[in-house]
Symmetry: C2
Subunit: 225 residues, 2 copies
């Protein structure tokens, strides 16, 4: 299997962490640490101790910890878009493309050998628990102007276009896609922590299958209205 690198650009970092050993360690170990501690308790100081470096060195790669989170989440959405592009190659029927996209969104995330640097399982837990915090801030408008959310928008636009191919009259393609993307994370979080808020149950079998089933129902029923 070929080893790949997602090209993340713009203002997602000060210095590209994929280019240096230290940068790669920052990304790798921050994924482990945010997963373990949660974003609130995670600090650059703790990360520096863990990777035997210093706060000041980390600040040369990322302006602050919020930007690092935005970077990780952007990486994740780029990865998902790549997987959807890959999985829908040579498939013409937009319904099947949409089905594949939903499956990829809903499914369990396992290590992707194409990206040995990144622990996708840990990153997925971060996405579930922390990704909303990237934009639920007072600086969202400035961050947006800087293009920090381009990866998410791109993915959303792609899937919305499948929906419009299926039903050009559907009024809310983007809203439906963002709803599905968000819901996929939310229900997994509830299933784990607030089970009375979800009907996904481990006792009903594979929780990711239930996720896929629910999202498919939600999306396809909405489109054919």
């Amino acid at each position: 299997m070929a080893i790949l690198q997602l090209l993340l650009k713009e203002n997602l970092f000060l210095r590209d962490p994929q280019e240096t050993e230290l940068g790669r360690k920052i990304v790798q170990d921050s994924i482990m640490m945010i997963d373990e501690l949660g974003f609130e308790k995670f600090t650059f100081k703790k990360l520096a101790q863990r990777i035997d470096s210093t706060e000041a060195s980390i600040y040369r790669y990322f302006e602050n910890k919020h930007r690092l989170l935005v970077y990780l989440i952007a990486w994740y959405w780029n990865w998902i878009e790549y997987r959807i592009d890959f999985g829908t190659q040579n498939i013409d029927d937009p319904k099947r493309r949409l089905e594949i996209a939903i499956r990829i969104i809903a499914e369990k995330k396992e290590k992707d050998a194409s990206f040995p640097q990144i622990d996708e399982e840990a990153l997925y837990r971060i996405v579930i628990a922390e990704s909303d915090k990237t934009y639920l801030t007072k600086q969202v408008d400035e961050d947006n102007k800087e293009g920090l959310f381009r990866g998410f928008k791109s993915l959303c636009g792609k899937i919305a276009s499948y929906i419009l191919e299926i039903n050009p009259d559907f009024e809310y393609p983007h809203s439906l896609v963002t709803t599905a993307l968000q819901t996929g994370h939310q229900q997994l979080f509830y299933a784990e922590h607030l089970p009375s808020l979800s009907n996904f149950k481990k006792s009903n079998g594979d929780i990711y299958k239930q996720n896929e089933d629910f999202l498919k129902q939600l999306v396809f029923n909405a489109i054919h209205a």
Copy 2:
């Protein structure tokens, strides 16, 4: 119009803020301040300065600022449940009850004269931008054990029961309700800050009507599957 008080209990506070002048000022002014500054920039110190009191005094009502946020969000969900109870009085048809609930969830929130203490418009903006932060934490399981999310669960259970009356075979009533509740906020946030992620547009008229329309489609199409 009668003046009411929602009874919030348990571990939502150390000392009931509805019982004293200072407590009511804490709640009122924290709503204004969190709305203005965002939850991250909001501190008890700033609040104390604003209400001419001290940090230590505020800490006697709420353990920390996270608990205060949880309190405000719990108040909001209790208020919504009260409005739905009120609005569905004497209505037997579960479809109509569900429609009313969706309308109440989606609609613009205006000052409720029954609760003169609370600025519901500002509180609604807080709910949209900050409510997910109440449970997206590492302490969610302990907070849940303490019953902090009871108000939200109660509302969710109520609307899920309408859905089961309409279609007893529907497999995901709670998931559908939480999806709708979350989506209602998310789409309004996107419409304001990340408009390419939503199809709600101010140029299409009343944004809250679009919200209601989208949620109705989503929910009713899902149920009748």
